[in-house]
């Protein structure tokens, strides 16, 4: 792990913390009204005093920032939502798993699919099959998730009624075991399909360009000359050598998947973080909004950091 990469993450974390801390204080009016004003119908003097005490608003800005850091770092306290009348971390616990399910499953699926299509396309570089695949995927690439998702929802859920209009499980159905699993998958199909399709062109294009860089190398000719089977040359000799740039992108891709999921959950009323953030926006529930966005950002930074570590390992291991 290079020190400069690590410093990038630390600076990123500081920027996020500062931004979260400063935004309510940069707005016109006092931070209490900005943060809680819209979520609360009326703020009694006692509540206001308690909030001012809690945020230490009478202290200097620097001390306030230290308090803020202490709340997050030591107590894992991301704030309190008056709209839900619960701590932000508690609310998030109910929504985050659905987002993770959606993001991780689509990340795996679209990475695998993009990998295979990219290998096939790059192998046949500039031949008919490659061109056809490229055009189809470029068109998909032009389609934003909100458009593709809406259309899938209308066709498959509204018109044909094959899939549910929203939600992640059938409420009060009391499913257990396999039926429960099937119910979850049934609700997952459309949001998953949307996210996989909108993110497929990215991994496909990357693998394709990486692959045709390898195809013309002498060791591929050698492998062929040895009389090895085509599939074996393609995947073992070719793809293995083209995969490193593909892997390095995984961390960054997690972040784009998460961004995409926020909008797609919204279309399918999927009860994940996107839906939560949307509700928070509607209700002007700033503590919840800030807490949710902060947590997601933290996750992205952590995943990027871990993939960087992994890549160092892969490079050293002589892939």
């Amino acid at each position: 792990m290079k020190a400069k990469k690590l410093s990038g993450y630390i600076i990123a974390l500081i920027i996020i913390l500062l931004l979260n801390f400063m935004l309510p204080r940069l707005m016109p009016g006092d931070p209490i009204t900005v943060m809680y004003g819209d979520a609360l119908t009326e703020l009694t003097p006692e509540m206001r005093a308690a909030l001012e005490e809690r945020h230490g608003l009478s202290q200097s800005l620097f001390n306030q920032f230290l308090n803020y850091l202490k709340d997050i770092g030591l107590n894992w306290d991301l704030g309190y939502s008056f709209y839900y009348e619960r701590p932000v971390t508690q609310i998030i616990n109910n929504y985050l798993p659905w987002t993770l399910l959606l993001v991780l499953s689509s990340l795996i699926l679209s990475t695998l699919l993009g990998f295979i299509l990219g290998v096939e396309s790059g192998w046949d570089y500039r031949q008919r099959r490659d061109k056809a695949l490229l055009i189809v995927l470029l068109i998909v690439n032009g389609m934003p998730g909100i458009v593709l998702g809406s259309i899938l929802l209308i066709i498959f859920a509204w018109q044909l009624g094959i899939f549910p209009l929203g939600g992640a499980i059938t409420p009060h159905a009391g499913y257990t075991g396999l039926a429960w699993l099937r119910d979850i998958l049934y609700h997952l199909v459309l949001p998953l399909l949307t996210l996989v399709l909108t993110r497929l062109p990215g991994s496909y294009l990357l693998m394709r360009s990486s692959m045709f860089g390898v195809v013309e190398q002498p060791f591929i000719d050698l492998a062929r000359a040895k009389g090895l089977k085509k599939q074996r040359v393609k995947y073992v000799h070719g793809a293995r050598n083209a995969i490193v740039p593909f892997l390095t992108q995984l961390g960054i891709r997690f972040s784009t998947f998460l961004g995409g999921a926020l909008f797609i959950e919204n279309i399918f009323s999927y009860p994940g973080m996107g839906e939560l953030i949307y509700r928070a926006l509607l209700n002007r529930d700033y503590p919840l909004l800030q807490g949710s966005l902060f947590l997601l950002t933290l996750m992205v930074l952590l995943i990027n950091f871990l993939t960087d570590l992994l890549i160092v390992k892969v490079d050293k291991g002589g892939f």
Partner: protein
């Protein structure tokens, strides 16, 4: 591919520029009964507020194009300024920007835009500024690296030998060699900005009075049970797709002449 891309972008541009001439109504005006199906006076019917959907569709192109255009211009200007000066001055100044770029690239842009836009309830120009401030990083790094290798090339060393100063070299030699990079950058930022604006409006972040395709799609979704999606949701969806597709084709059309 390039020609198709050019045609698509051209059509959208024409719609955006001439929207006030083509549109039968003002997009934010109550023109008749709400939720009408398409008919001879309202080509695509009316929305829940009794506004003419066809007029809103045309004006939506203006929002997308102006956000894409000005964000691309502003962000590319930042990229150029920071990239070239980093290459020229090197040292601590360069180090500062490169570390900052590393940090900004690690932060998920969508989340930060939602956060800032939610607090400030931004207008069109506010959105352009936020998007620009979060879209220059990658370009700045590419331009800085390219400038660095250009600065080591013989023709620039020769110019220096003849006593050319930093300003002269930048204006006379560097910029012309950076042009291909800049056009790639402009297209990429344009596409991202159009995409993000639609997403933000879809989520309801930003100025609610802004006529935007993203917001139209959101409104149409709320009335999905009326079966009005084919004239309310599909048209903005198709135009949004064609805009982004047009730019994608321009980008890859360029590359196909070289490597892809």
């Amino acid at each position: 591919m390039r020609r198709v891309g050019l045609a698509l972008v051209g059509i959208i541009l024409i719609i955006a520029i001439f929207a006030p001439l083509i549109a039968p109504y003002t997009p934010t005006e109550y023109v008749g009964q709400s939720l009408l199906a398409p008919n001879s006076s309202y080509l695509l019917g009316t929305n829940d507020l009794g506004e003419d959907i066809f007029s809103r569709l045309l004006y939506g192109a203006r929002t997308s194009v102006s956000i894409g255009f000005f964000t691309a211009l502003l962000a590319t200007f930042f990229s150029l300024l920071i990239g070239v000066t980093s290459a020229l001055f090197a040292g601590v100044y360069d180090l500062f920007w490169m570390r900052l770029i590393d940090a900004l690239l690690a932060i998920p842009t969508v989340l930060i835009i939602i956060l800032i836009a939610a607090f400030f309830r931004v207008s069109l120009w506010g959105m352009i500024i936020i998007l620009s401030l979060l879209s220059w990083q990658q370009g700045a790094r590419v331009i800085r690296n390219q400038s660095k290798s250009l600065l080591k090339s013989n023709f620039i060393l020769a110019a220096q030998g003849f006593g050319a100063g930093k300003l002269h070299i930048t204006l006379k030699h560097l910029l012309s060699h950076l042009l291909p990079l800049l056009s790639v950058q402009l297209l990429m930022v344009f596409r991202r900005a159009v995409f993000l604006e639609a997403g933000m409006s879809f989520l309801g972040v930003g100025d609610p009075s802004l006529v935007s395709w993203g917001r139209m799609i959101r409104q149409a979704l709320e009335y999905i049970y009326l079966g009005s999606w084919s004239w309310w949701l599909l048209p903005p969806g198709v135009l949004l797709t064609l805009t982004i597709l047009g730019v994608v084709l321009l980008e890859y059309g360029r590359d196909s002449q070289r490597s892809i």
